[in-house]
Amino acid sequence: MPFSVYLTTNSHNGHAAMLIRRPTDILPSEITSPELYRDRRRFLAQSTALALAAALPAGLARAAGQSLGPLAKSPYSIGETPTPYKAVTTYNNFYELGTDKADPAENTHRLKPAPWTLRVEGLVNKPRTFSIEELLKLAPLEERIYRMRCVEGWSMVIPWVGFPLASLLKLVEPQGSAKYVEFVSHYDRSTMTRGVLEWPYNEGLRLDEARHPLTLLAVGLYGEVLPVQNGAPIRLVVPWKYGFKGAKSLVTLRLTEKQPITAWMKAGPSEYGFYSNVNPEVDHPRWSQATERRIGEFSKRKTLMFNGYADQVASMYTGMDLRRFF
């Protein structure tokens, strides 16, 4: 040891004093040079990194927070200010990781987003299982700044990163009889919430809704890899519908002829319908949907028809009684 620290008491005034003394018996040659010290540190750091990299499966290198590289801008993005990253990643409804909104961010260890595969099956000519690496290269990644309106009456603006679901559907070639797409989320009974809803979580869209250019498969937000609590590694985003339609951590897409019965429809058929389009005129049976609180804002704002996407999507519902098909 090159230095020693001694604690002594000064006998004259009674106060304790710290003396730092270099004992004379250490030769300067015995002291580690700063260069060598730094080299050792570097070696340790490098070997730890190598050992970690070797121990982990390849996909796990894509961790939340990692940049997704240059992204194409999209004309579908809105001009509103995105909700702060912290709010987007700490205020989540992801019941599999806990029913309190702060839970998912605290329980990210319960879901391993790599390795990951997404199976596309059902009424398609080319059923296929995609690895997450394949999905990331399937179409150019775009940034889509969308409104997100929760059925509970709050909203955010989220800069998603992803690609249109339509690009994926094209690859599997839906058959003429396919009318709906069912989305199934990952569920692991040993680590995730039991009860509350029927697991695994599932959602559904009509095929034309699924093919709509606004419908997104998101793999990131804020230019970075999607955090677990937001539905890593890949989730659905349907901006004109209530947030729960955006099934997280997708493992299966199934094209069907019959309308899927979704997790929320099973949980409360009188409260949650298949369509779940954002509609200020159709209230939730227990609360109003006329207004919403944008996270970070003090006053409430008026909820917009189809969450402000009426121009793009309203034509899909012409002639439909939206009170009946809620």
Binding site: A87, T99, K101, R286, S288, A290, R293, I295
Partner: protein, 221 residues
């Protein structure tokens, strides 16, 4: 064990400070922005839950007194009940002010149209005469028996509080269920006491005890 008057004063002061702790923590959370992404919802939720907790704590005083023999505990009951009311008023204020921002049209519509808000609002309205008759003069004026009959409104109030909570949650009813079970236990206990008393009466060995009238005066002297 019965504390002396100065001891009881000290206990009351300590309890008062303790009852203020949740309010203080919420205030600090609001100032330091640690209530999460939706502080208004967090505040509304917390004040509502504290109202229910204080109601249940108030309802625990009598069983506790009965089984421990510490009859002086009842002297803390008024303060606990008033705190329940104070947190309830704060809860209503967060809704009227922070949540709806004095949009009276929307508020009235909500109260009439949303059963969970109707029940919650009715519970708070019912609490008001209880808080208003909590002082000694009111007790004397009403007379112990009538005063007690009025204050038994806390039973339906607690039930309504639980229903209010139950109806507002989206799906996970764990928390409202816990409150409902505690409420059921506290009210069930009283029903059981009543039944015991009735049986005693039927058995003929019952002598009416002047327990309530005399106690009420003594408690709030």
């Amino acid at each position: 064990m019965t504390p002396t008057t100065p001891q009881l004063g000290a206990i009351k002061t300590a309890l008062f400070a303790l009852c203020l702790v949740p309010a203080f923590l919420l205030w600090r959370g609001l100032e330091m922005d640690t209530l999460g992404a939706n502080p208004i919802e967090a505040l509304t939720r917390a004040t509502g839950e504290w109202t229910l907790r204080f109601l249940l704590i108030t309802l625990t005083v009598t069983p506790l007194r009965k089984y421990s023999g510490w009859h002086w505990l009842v002297r803390l009951r008024r303060m606990l009940g008033l705190f329940a009311f104070a947190y309830g008023v704060t809860h209503l204020l967060t809704y009227v002010w922070l949540d709806q921002f004095f949009d009276w049209h929307a508020i009235v519509k909500d109260i009439l149209k949303r059963p969970f808000i109707t029940v919650g609002f009715a519970a708070l309205v019912l609490m008001t005469p209880l808080a208003a008759t909590s002082f000694n003069a009111a007790i004397r004026k009403l007379g112990g028996r009538r005063w007690q009959a009025l204050h038994r409104a806390i039973y339906p109030i607690a039930v309504m509080g639980c229903v209010h909570f139950w109806w507002l949650v989206k799906k996970d009813i764990t928390e409202p269920l816990i409150y409902a079970l505690i409420t059921a236990a506290l009210l069930g206990l009283r029903a059981w006491w009543r039944e015991q008393e009735r049986r005693k009466q039927l058995a003929g060995g019952y002598l009416p005890q002047p327990r309530f009238e005399s106690k009420v005066i003594k408690i709030f002297e």
